[in-house]
Amino acid sequence: MSAHSHADGQWPHEPEKATLEGRNKVLGFWLFLGAETVLFGTLFSAFLALRHQVGEGNPTPNELFELPMVAAATVILLVSSLTSVFAVQAMHLNKVKPMLIWLLVTIVLGLGFLGLEIYEFTNYVKEGHKFTTSAFSSSFYTLVGFHGAHVAFGVLWIGLLIMQIAFKKGLTVTTASKVYVAGIYWHFIDVVWVFIFTVVYLMGKVG
């Protein structure tokens, strides 16, 4: 089950699923995302249960959150989802260079998002909203921080993938399934962010 079934040089229509390994990887990754869904679902539930436990004298979500900045972060992340789609499309057409460029753009946007988030968190801490302040703050940082860690992991992952493809292995049916899977991962963290934006920030603003 290796590339030799495509020895005629044809780039397959769905390169990520051209081999059994590839099919397994894609399926396994979808299953993994099922687990991640439960993970974030539980974090959301904990946050919802605790979000009103702000404690005496601590800043409330309404005072804390600055929607314009969070909205900017949201836009950045949504755009990065789009650029990752372009990357996967380029991969399907076996266009290596555009694919690498779009991947690069994706992680640059991811880094931008992370930068905003770090800036946001340091601001909150200055306002007295520390990890240990209240049940609300603990669950807030855990939920949003977990998502942030996922973004950071994604940036690292895609970064390494770019290097691998650019300098070592090129685009093959093996690396194609890696790109594809990284793409679904990136969409997933984007979707999670949409929920965070709604449940944490918008609902925090309206109380």
Binding site: V38, A46, S138, Q164, K168
Partner: protein
């Protein structure tokens, strides 16, 4: 060395069996010590603190380090064979699954030597499990939190591996409605793992943050919520008991049908019942919280939902009985365990329905009635099922038959000891003997029943010793088990040599019906029709990375636990380094050529 680097699912199955079996002995020893402490009133065999540790470690060890791995042992050894696959979907990840489970298990038990084991019960209820209740045992619960977290990774990736294997790697013709029932239950169990374990992960992370970094999830003085822990724990914990019991159901279905020489009665209703039980498992978690005070509406709904599970379970019981009915039954050890399982599990089910009645539960709650109930299901269900499966598949796993006389001794001692131990506990519970308390006063009428219970526990221990003797003496014998040693094998694993060769099937078989091998036998053939010509077989190469990766997690866990952040980070770097190395170095594997097949196929 071979064993440290293997990615062969059959060897990993054996690794799971050895380490799960080892932890079963540890947990059993803890149980015996608990029972010695309780054999007479006001006993001072162990101190109250030690009792708490023993009790916690017994429950935790039995569930996470003994029962789960032994299930994984059978699934690894058998599922790919039953579906006609050459391998699992992710051999490398499979090895990671084993080693992280093992690292987590060792870490948990290190606690005994470093100043105190976890002592808040296997449910680790807060606030008991929070920092404030440490007493002198500062790090006890940290071990629970971190050890289970690491072991949990292994379980989760194992579950994903089985799901992908069963979905993607079935032989031609092996449709879902032809899957052997053990594979079906492995499939549903894996799905439950996939959806239940991440909830536990979050609970453990939250508790860890509370303990190590002073977060406030469960810190009521800072707005935290203790009932939140109960919800998170049981939304994982209830499916967990079905994760444990479903594979046992699968084993019983295979064994009963083989040794009755009959097709399993009601195959499709069995499949349907398995799926339904898996689904309902997620709907009933709050029946562990009737006395928490959720209110009458919640209690009624969860009460009814729980009782509903009796329906698919009843279907299963009747199907097994109808399979036995009129069959030409052979009482091998495997079948004795299976037949012993049926009434025992029914009794556990009946007390389950009793407990599901919310008002009655106010009486039973936290008494020995509960202890009796869950041991009837877990020991009388899962452990009998495991014994049955081990005796049944032993020749396929090791190429050697177990001795039937020793097997029967194992069965009778274990079975009678079991009922002696736990049957009387129902009455102790109804009389009001509380659970999780280290001793009881004289003159409450508890004395004789406790004595009986302790004697029973020793008999079970004897039964287990017979099993060990059986393993050791059989290991001295040559590997001469036939391909189909029970002669009535119905499924694909019996079409290949015992033990199965590295590549499982020299040629992938063509499946033409349910009970694929039996069908061929009934048509007068004694082998499967191959679905492909004989050709080179691609195998993954072994790797030491999974072991190093889990050592990294082990070091990292210890580091964070003792606030040596540097050590913690080094550990995590080792882990990530392994993943990184893996993704850089492609595993091209190797090929087994057709002319090698014959040499490799014969037994060593």
């Amino acid at each position: 060395m071979d064993w440290l680097t293997t990615v062969d699912h059959k060897k990993i199955g054996i690794l799971y069996l050895i380490s799960g079996g080892f932890f079963f002995l540890v947990g059993g020893l803890e149980a015996i010590m608990i029972r010695i402490q309780l054999w007479q009133p006001e006993n001072h065999f162990v101190s109250a603190d030690t009792y708490n540790e023993l009790l916690t470690m017994h429950g935790t060890t039995m569930i996470f380090l003994a029962a789960m791995p032994m299930i994984f042992a059978l699934m690894n050894a058998i599922v790919p064979l039953q579906i006609g696959a050459r391998d699992v979907a992710f051999p490398f990840v499979n090895a990671i699954g084993f080693w992280t489970f093992f690292a987590g298990g060792v870490l948990l038990n290190v606690s005994w030597f470093t100043g105190g084991a976890p002592d808040a019960g296997w449910t680790s209820y807060v606030p008991l499990a929070t920092d404030a209740f440490n007493g002198g045992n500062v790090h006890g619960v940290d071990y629970y939190v971190v050890g289970l977290q690491i072991a949990g990774i292994g379980t989760l990736v194992g579950g994903i591996n089985f799901l992908a294997t069963i979905i993607n790697m079935r032989a031609p013709g092996m449709s879902f409605m032809r899957l052997p029932l053990f594979t079906w239950t492995a499939f549903i169990t894996s799905a439950l793992i996939l959806f239940a374990f991440p909830a536990l992960t979050v609970g453990l992370v939250a508790l860890m943050f509370d303990r190590l970094f002073h977060a406030n999830f469960f810190e009521v003085s800072n707005g935290g919520n203790a009932v939140l822990w109960e919800h998170i724990f049981w939304i994982f914990g209830h499916p967990e008991v079905y994760i444990l019991i479903l594979p046992a159901f699968g084993v019983i279905s295979e064994v009963v049908s083989t040794f009755s020489r009959k097709r399993l009665f009601g195959y499709s209703s069995m499949v349907f019942a398995t799926v339904l039980i898996g689904f309902l498992a997620f709907m009933v978690w709050a029946h562990h919280m009737f006395t928490t005070g959720l209110g009458p509406v919640a209690n009624s709904l969860f009460s009814i939902a729980t009782m509903l599970i009796a329906v698919p379970t009843g279907i299963k019981i009747f199907n097994w009985l109808f399979t036995l009915w009129g069959g030409s039954i052979r009482f091998t050890t495997a079948n004795l365990f299976a037949v012993g399982f049926i009434p025992t599990f029914v009794m556990g089910g009946v007390t389950g329905v009793m407990l599901a009645s919310a008002p009655a539960d106010y009486q039973y709650h936290d008494t020995y009635f509960v202890v009796a109930h869950f041991h009837y299901v877990i020991v009388g269900g899962l452990i009998l099922g495991l014994f049955s499966g081990l005796h049944y598949w032993w020749p396929k796993m090791f190429g050697r038959m177990l001795n039937e006389t020793l097997g029967k001794l194992t069965f009778w001692f274990f079975f009678l000891g079991f009922h002696l131990t736990f049957f009387v506990q129902h009455f102790l519970g109804l009389m009001g003997m509380p659970r999780r308390v280290w001793t009881y006063l004289d003159g409450l009428g508890f004395d004789d029943l406790n004595m009986i219970s302790t004697v029973g526990a020793f008999l079970m221990g004897l039964g287990t010793i017979f099993f060990l003797i059986n393993i050791v003496t059989s290991a001295a014998k040559p590997r001469d088990a036939a391909d189909d040693p029970w002669e009535d094998g119905r499924t694909l694993e019996w079409t290949i040599p015992s033990p199965a060769p590295e590549y499982n099937f020299a040629q992938t078989p063509l499946v033409r019906g349910y009970d694929a091998y039996w069908k061929e036998k009934m048509e007068g053939k004694n082998a499967m029709t191959p679905a492909e010509p004989l050709g080179p077989i691609h195998m993954p190469s072994p790797s030491i990375l999974p072991l190093i990766l889990s050592i990294g997690l082990f070091i990292g866990g210890l580091g964070f636990m003792y606030h040596h952040t540097i050590v913690g980070i080094i550990g995590l770097l080792i882990t990530f380094g392994c993943l990184f190395t893996r993704s850089l170095i492609d595993d091209h594997g190797f090929h087994i050529e057709p002319d090698e097949l014959h040499d490799k196929g014969v037994k060593a």
